[in-house]
């Protein structure tokens, strides 16, 4: 099978759905401009025209309500935000309108709407261009929240989201855009809801979201050399969160670390921990450990930014402590660094 990037997988999903279903349209600030949302909206305006692929005024709030209005009148809008931070300007529409519109139509109206948001650190993005925020959206009944990690899931889950008759917040980590993986050319769906075991192991479970899956996998590879067998569960959907695979895995390994690409405080990791304890109480060998951002705004300067974000090393040290192992010598190990991807300045 051919391999393509996460970014191209997103683009292909949108193009194929727009081809299949005339009611799908895509809009948002910069969607048809020359940068094309990091390339994820390439060729769409050329193929489908300005009526189905268009730029908007800087009006996140109104343009979210706009999508809702179009959706209840039979359209399937895809609204794109190049940073999740910008979606906060539309919290009123999300929390008061989009999420509850079906409920307050007596089930008469449906809201088939996708809101794509890009999260994650880039190159000195600072505190207003890097937030995750997804647990806040997952807190609100009526919204689905998905965050695929692999190119395969990116395409399959985006197609699922577009075909879903409910509002779906589709969360894409910026660094995942360069991930390459096998992706079928034909359209296919990956269901919204179930998690995925991306690495089988018997010693400890890492429950991870979005980019933290990449860090967890790196940690697992290094520790495997020391004979530690790590299982990784990729939580691809946090709303609705289906905990079955996570619970099964924790019951098998007895140890659990939740590595969430967000702050720990009141975040998804808290919800996940509560659900795991509920089902695994008395059957675990150690308490759950949570890994996430430092509880500060994200600083810009590199060494502080590095201290803010957890990575594979954080996960390795957490595993070692939990299992009572000596710290592994990590000298000579190569870890993911954005410096290898993008050389500033802009």
């Amino acid at each position: 099978m051919r391999s393509i990037t996460y970014c191209d997988a997103l683009n292909e999903a949108i193009a194929q759905e727009m081809e299949r279903e005339p009611s799908v349209f895509i809009y948002g600030l910069g969607v048809p401009d020359h940068k094309r949302i990091f390339g994820s909206t390439n060729d769409l305006v050329e193929r489908f025209g300005k009526e189905r692929c268009f730029d908007t005024p800087l009006s996140e709030d109104a343009m979210t309500g706009f999508g809702l209005g179009a959706a209840i009148n039979g359209k399937r809008p895809i609204h794109v935000h190049i940073r999740a931070d910008f979606l906060l300007l539309a919290m009123n529409q999300l929390a008061n309108m989009v999420s509850s519109y079906r409920y307050f139509s007596g089930g008469k109206l449906k809201v088939p709407m996708v809101i794509r948001v890009i999260i994650g650190r880039g190159w000195g993005q600072g505190h207003q261009h890097s937030k995750s925020m997804y647990s806040i959206f997952a807190h609100i009944p009526g919204l689905k929240v998905v965050l695929p990690t692999t190119p395969y899931d990116a395409k399959g889950m985006l197609i699922s989201a577009i075909r879903d008759d409910n509002p779906v917040i589709f969360v894409e980590h910026r660094w995942l855009y360069w991930q390459v993986g096998e992706v079928p050319e034909k359209p296919y769906t990956v269901p919204i809801g179930p998690a995925n075991i991306t690495r089988e192991g018997k010693d400890i479970t890492i429950v991870s979201t979005s980019w933290m899956n990449v860090e967890a996998l790196k940690a697992a590879e290094i520790l495997a050399r020391n004979g530690v067998d790590v299982e990784i569960v990729d939580v691809r959907t946090i709303a609705p969160f289906e905990e079955d695979l996570v619970v099964e895995s924790v019951l098998k390994t007895g140890h659990c670390i939740i590595a969430d690409n967000d702050w720990v405080e009141c975040g998804f990791s808290a919800e996940a921990a509560a659900r795991i304890y509920d089902k695994c109480f008395g059957r675990m060998k150690s308490p759950i450990e949570r890994v996430g951002f430092a509880f500060t705004p994200c600083p810009t300067v590199r060494h502080l930014e590095n201290a803010f974000y957890p990575n594979a090393i954080t996960i390795i040290r957490a595993i070692e402590e939990k299992l009572g192992l000596e710290p592994t010598d990590l000298s000579g190990e190569e870890f993911y660094s954005h410096e290898n991807r993008f050389k500033g300045p802009f």
Binding site: G65, R102, S105
Partner: protein, 318 residues
């Protein structure tokens, strides 16, 4: 013209009597929903809605009794919802503030000021792309113009030349706060005029005038593919929320109210009918028929059961 005026009167009378019945029964504490009453604005609701076609769509606010009835005429569903009964479309989940009846063209209402405006704009966009020739009208008060999303929505509707009618039913107050405490400009209409849309600004309680202005405005929209902004003044007879007068509170005067009451929209329309030769006995017959309809709706709603508690979880997701 006579027929038109009778039709307009019938709906205005229906709305006024319905709210008088709410006042009569509210103390029984069976309609457990905060009432934001429409009394005083009947001419705007009826004039605008009558100029729309059945297939056209409207959006409202927490103060939507008048437009709900003007658009849908569905008095049975109205009282079933006020009493929160299983027979209502929303089974009481919405109540007075969150009515919705998509089949009747009432696409929803929001209790957050201005929040339905962008939704209406998006609905108009969808209508435009499928060329179904439906118009969308969104109702709000002048307080909505204090919200950023009003301007965002107006801008995008004008930019995209959408078939939408903005209806500002202006009673001068945001809850109890007058314009003088809220607005750094003289006239909302003057500002909106700078956008690429048609603006009609009138302070009248004559439903026929409002109907004609709206009809003319819609024709302008058809000819130019530009949105329409209607700005109509009225006086809110009752308190912001609740069924009582509040002239003792001191933020407005009874004298002002009495001046408006002299040209009360419902009574004025009744007088117009009689002045134009409709026999008063016939007017009374019309009124009695509507009274009976309202009484039946109330009785039905009172007798209807509540829905099962399982219903709580229905309709969150499709």
């Amino acid at each position: 013209m006579k027929e038109l005026n009778i039709e307009l009167y019938k709906t205005m009378y229906l709305i006024r009597k319905t709210e008088e019945k709410i006042q009569e029964h509210y103390h029984e504490d069976e309609m457990k929903t905060p009432m934001h009453m429409s009394m005083g604005e009947e001419a705007i609701a009826v004039g605008v809605c009558h100029a729309l076609k059945a297939k056209d769509q409207i959006f409202g606010t927490y103060r939507s009794h008048a437009i709900y009835l003007a658009k849908t005429q569905n008095i049975n569903d109205f009282f079933a919802e006020m009493y929160g009964k299983d027979t209502a479309l929303l089974k009481g989940k919405g109540g007075s503030m969150h009515m919705c009846n998509p089949d009747g063209g009432f696409m929803g209402s929001s209790g957050i000021v201005a929040s339905a405006i962008p939704v209406a704009v998006g609905a108009a966009f969808a209508n435009k792309t499928v060329k179904n020739e439906k118009y969308v009208a969104v109702f709000f008060g002048d307080g909505a113009a204090n919200e950023g999303v009003f301007w965002e929505s107006l801008n995008v509707a004008c930019l995209m030349k959408l078939p939408i009618i903005f209806v500002c039913a202006d009673n001068g107050f945001a809850v109890h706060t007058p314009k003088s405490e809220r607005e750094g400009y003289e006239s909302l209409s003057d500002i909106v005029l700078k956008f690429h849309c048609h603006v009609i600004n009138q302070e009248t309680t004559d439903v026929e005038v409002i109907y004609n202005l709206t009809r003319d405005g819609i024709k302008l929209m058809k000819d130019t593919s530009m949105p329409l902004f209607l700005h109509f003044g009225y006086y809110r007879y009752l308190e912001h929320v609740g069924i009582c007068e509040d002239y003792e509170a001191g933020y407005r005067s009874r004298e002002e109210y009495l001046k408006w009451l002299e040209r009360d929209p419902v009574r004025s329309q009744r007088e117009k009918l009689i002045n134009r030769g409709v026999d008063e006995r016939n007017v009374k017959k019309i009124e009695e028929k509507i009274d009976e309809k309202i009484m039946n709706s109330i009785k039905k709603a009172q007798a209807a059961p509540f829905c099962d508690c399982d219903e709580l979880f229905e309709g969150v997701l499709a």
